[in-house]
């Protein structure tokens, strides 16, 4: 067992000897997984309408609502966002709009959702 384990070491093993024993996964390995690739609808955030009530931040299942150090919403991390639309549904100011992913073809998965 070469890999004695943390998420950074786990990376993408190139040889069978380096794969963690027994198919175990170390803590926080999900941070490296781009679940944003699963999305078919993308939330688009409008900073002018947003009042930073944080309902979306509280309910997002993928920890994808980005905030600054003052707790103000700054955007959406589409690296993790699966496009469930909970944020858009909850938003009291209609500051988040769900748009088809096809509109963003070629722009890359990661972004601020704007």
């Amino acid at each position: 067992m070469k890999n004695r384990g943390n998420s950074a070491e786990m990376g993408k093993p190139k040889r069978w000897q380096d794969v963690p024993m027994g198919g175990i996964a170390f803590g926080a390995t999900a941070e490296a997984v781009e679940t944003g690739q699963w999305r078919s609808m993308r939330p688009v955030w409008n900073g002018e309408k947003c009042i930073s009530c944080l309902l979306c931040w509280n309910q997002c299942p993928d920890r994808s609502i980005l905030t600054d150090k003052n707790g103000k919403v700054t955007g959406i991390d589409t690296f993790y966002c699966k496009g469930c639309g909970i944020c858009a549904h909850l938003c009291p100011k209609q500051a988040i709009e769900m748009r088809p992913e096809s509109e963003f073809t070629g722009t890359g998965a990661r972004g601020k959702g704007e």
């Binding site: 067992m1 384990g5 000897q17 794969v19 024993m21 027994g22 198919g23 175990i24 803590g27």
Partner: protein, 388 residues
Amino acid sequence: MPRREITSGNWAFAEAMRQINPDVVAAYPITPSTDIPMKFAEFVANGRVNTNFVTVESEHSAITACVTAAAAGARVMTASSANGVALMHEIFPIAGCFRTPIVFGLVNRSIGAPINIHCDHSDSMAERDAGWIHLYCEDAQEAYDTAILAVRLAEHKDVLTPVFVCQDGFITSHGFEPVNLLDDETVKAFVGERDADFPLLDVDRPVTYGSFVMSEYYFEIKRQQVEAMKNVLRVYDGIAKEYEAVSGRFYPKLDRYRTEDADIVVVVMSSASGVVKDVVDELRDRGIKAGCLRVRMFRPFPAEEVAAALGNAQAVAVLDRALSIGGTAPLAAEVKSALYDAGKTIPVQSCVYGLGGRDFFPQYARELFMDLAAGKVSREERYLGLLE
């Protein structure tokens, strides 16, 4: 002080469990292994062990509890037989893959149907590709010693693989014979404490067991299990020698009985080897160079050692206490494969005996040896003791 007691294979195994004092035992009773958890339950009730004894509603639950406890870092033991083993089948490869070093008292009994309580090896042989080590014991003494030795083998860092410690149902499990027992302190010192690498209960270094692994890495994880089995062949003798140092008893992977200069050899496992060895002695007295090769370790299969042990034999018979219906019986298939790889074209007679507890008499071994001596070896599987 070491003791010598009249006891059975099951009770000897349970006594080893008491001395090992595992963290967790989860078991469900089934004949002929019932005695093991029953005797162990007495030890629990009388406060003679600290074990968390989990009584469950099925064998499937028993082995599941064992796997999860072992993944959590516990030292775990259990026992079962026949259809109980079959019900556990789904979980065995998980135990193997998770590298949970469970030590399992497998008391061999025929798989139904037809339902039958007596010995054959159809239950464990059905699990031969599950990723578990298989050790087959000849008698109660060996079942006791192997239970203790298996803890160290299973938990060896280069192995981390569960072990079936097999003994013949009723013949060994319920037969009473003198057994030399070590004192508790010796066993305690020999097995030591389990030191788990990735225990589920280590909250400072959290891990997930059983996560989804797609085509990217499934293959590699299975390859690691193959390596662990290869490591068994490398580390086993060292552990067996350490055990010899404390017990005076050495158990090699293969029990070579007068095979060195043998012209004709019978290969067999477990209790029936006693009968074969008696017949070997009888034939040797008559000047016939007969030998018996008892295969104790079936998984991993020590193929090179088997081929070497059969060395210069003129003819070999392999006795299987299990069928592979429509194919070659398990032990015969392994022996033939080992000989082929060693470039040896010794005629091999595959024989099936003892299914459903059918007795194995010296006469069968005698006739078989005489046929081997006369060069009567057929490609057809032979059935010893069958009504025909």
